[in-house]
Every structure is written in C-alpha cells, then in structure tokens.
C-alpha cells in the first residue's frame, strides 16, 4: 500500500499532462490540415503537376500507334476538349496515320495563372519543346507556348482546353 500512496498523485499528474498534450496535438493537427491556404496550395500544385503531364501528352504522338495515342489524348481531357477530341477522332486518326509523324513534347516551364479551388477550375501557361520526327526527312525541334484550362474530375485534374498563344499580328 505504501507504493500506491506514493505513486498515485504522480500517476494522475502524468495522465493529466499526457491527455492535455494529446488533445493539443490533435487540435494543432486538425487546424493545420483544415488550413485553407494549405489546401489551396495543394490544389495549385496538383493542377500544375497534372497540366505538365497532360500538356506533354497532348503534344506527343507515336506515328506508328495513332489509335493508342489518340486514346491517351482523350484520357488527358475532359469537358469541351474531350468532346472535341471525340468528335474529330476519326478524321484525326486518318490524317495522323497518313503523315506517320512522331512527336514528343516536353514541358520546359509552366505556371498556374488562375485557380478557383471551390469551382475546381484552373488556368496554366506552359512552354513545350516538341521533338518532331517525320516518317521521311530530318528530325526537328519545335517550341510552342500554350494556355491550358483545367477542371478537377474524380480522377484528378484534366484539360478542358489547350490553346497555342500566338504573337499578336500588328
């Protein structure tokens, strides 16, 4: 009984302190996790990462596997862009097979210019270097600048539009 009398206040104190500490840690974690800025920042990085992947994919085509390439294009798109790709599917396949050109796009730099986290939409500008290998003739490198619209889907961010930004005519 001596042991019990000696240790009881100590034990109670340790228990109270650890309970308080745990409650505080939980509160701090919940607060950090629900931080609006942090979730916005995550959405921004997710959108940018997705834009880089999908813009590169839509700038690439294996001239010997056109159907497969077009399927990848459609998978990178949603909404209006996907509808358009679906609509032009047959014609695109014909033209691309005829040409047989292989292109490989690499995004060299990109930035998010607009992000509406609640609506799940974003706008990204991206610079792409495209290696072009025609069936005949010499390989060339092309540079393209794009503005892409994105929307969040159940499978992550996908492109709703992809437009080249031309130099304004004077």
């Amino acid at each position: 009984m001596r042991t019990r009398i000696a240790s009881a206040p100590g034990l109670v104190l340790v228990l109270v302190v650890s309970t308080l500490f745990c409650a505080f840690s939980l509160w701090a974690y919940v607060r950090a996790d629900g931080d609006g800025d942090l979730s916005y920042a995550r959405a921004r990085d997710d959108a940018l990462g997705a834009a880089r992947t999908h813009v590169a994919r839509l700038s690439s085509m294996d001239g010997t596997h056109v159907a497969e390439g077009l399927r990848k294009w459609r998978e990178s798109a949603t909404g209006p862009l996907r509808d358009e790709l679906e609509r032009t599917r047959g014609k695109s396949a014909e033209v691309l097979k005829e040409e047989g050109t292989t292109t490989r796009g690499t995004v060299t730099d990109a930035a998010v210019t607009q992000l509406d986290e609640r609506a799940g939409t974003a706008k990204v500008i991206a610079m792409v270097r495209v290696a072009v290998e025609p069936r005949r003739g010499e390989a060339t490198t092309d540079r393209k600048r794009f503005e892409a619209g994105l929307a969040r889907t159940a499978d992550g961010w996908r492109l709703t539009s992809l437009q080249a930004v031309p130099a304004k005519a004077n």
């Binding site: 009984m1 228990l15 745990c22 974690y29 950090a32 210019t113 540079r143």
Partner: protein, 194 residues
C-alpha cells in the same frame, strides 16, 4: 509491492476497509490501478508525438512553402513589377536606348545584368545605324514559385521589331525569370529563354 508491506498495512491504517490478507482480486486491482494509467499515458504520449510529427509535415510541405497564388497580394505585386520590368528593359529605340540602359541598371542584378549588357552591346550599333526599334509586351505571366524574397515566373512575350522604313514584325518569345526582393522591389537576377 512486497508481502511485508501488505502484511503491515492493516496495523498502520486500522480504519481502511482493506482485508487483512489482501486476497488475489484486490492485489490484481492494485496492480492494474498502477499499470493502466501508465499504459494510457504512454499511448497518449505516443499519439501526441505522432500528431506533432504529422503537423510539422503539413507545415513544412513544399506546397505550404510556396506562396504563389495563395498570397494574392504578393503574387499580384511580383507579377506586376516583373511585367513592367520586362517591358521596360526589352523595349528600345534610337532615342530611348540610354533610358532603357538606365532602367536595366536598377531592374537587373547578377547574372541577368551581365547577360543583358552583352546583349545590348551586340545590338547598340544596329539600333543607331538602322533605326532599330524593339517593343516588348508581356502577354501572359505566371508565378510558379514565391517564397519570402525569391520568386520564379514564366512570361510569354510579343516582341515587335521595326527598322526605318520597314514593316513591323511581331515574334513570340518566352522567358523563365528568377527574381529577388531587394529593398522592397523585385529585381530580376536570372533570365532564361524558353
């Protein structure tokens, strides 16, 4: 808890309802009354440590460190200043060349300043001899990274060149820009053509 201690207890506290020989269930209860709070405390402390580590992870994530777009005011400020800086240093005419160079001295730093000087040296002759005019307009600009006093941006430019008596032509150009905050103003430290 020793047998000796238990045996002596009833004598010291005659009023306690403890049975004299402390049967097995009471002993077990006493052992648990020490063990359970200790275990609970250990579990709570472990959970606290885990939560603290997770919280630190959230705060230190690359997403949290990058204020591009999350800090709207700072983002607008850096895009506005770099947009204007690029327009100024990449626009010149025979009459404004000196002013452009003066602007560049304040707006550019480090590597960007050195490269710009070399670039300008190579066109200076043509600017005066051929009446060469360059006008640069930033058509799109975005911040990819912003933290404290450094920023990275991507800018799409339209550059219009005009020579005396010739028609103007606009060409697209793109720059990855690194900028540093110096004395309350953003200065370009690195330029990379894309």
């Amino acid at each position: 808890m020793t047998d000796e201690a238990e045996a002596r207890l009833p004598e010291q506290h005659p009023g306690e309802p403890e049975p004299e020989a402390a049967p097995a269930p009471a002993r077990r209860w006493r052992r648990w009354s020490t063990l359970a709070p200790s275990l609970l405390s250990a579990v709570l402390l472990l959970a606290s440590t885990l939560l603290t580590v997770l919280t630190a992870g959230l705060h230190d994530s690359p997403a949290a460190g990058n204020k591009a777009l999350t800090d709207t005011a700072a983002t607008d400020r850096v895009t506005g200043e770099i947009r204007s800086a690029l327009g100024r240093i990449l626009s010149y005419s025979p009459d404004s060349l000196a002013a452009t160079e003066r602007d560049a001295k304040t707006l550019l730093r480090g590597q960007a300043a050195k490269e710009y000087d070399a670039l300008l040296a190579s066109v200076r002759q043509r600017v005066t001899d051929q009446g060469l005019t360059l006008t640069t307009q930033v058509v799109r600009i975005g911040v990819s990274h912003l933290s404290g006093d450094t920023a990275r941006l991507l800018a799409f430019l339209d550059q219009t060149t005009r020579r005396d008596g010739e028609k103007a032509t606009a060409v697209p150009a793109q720059l990855s820009v690194t900028a540093e905050l110096d004395g309350g103003h953003w200065r370009i430290t690195k330029l990379k053509a894309r």
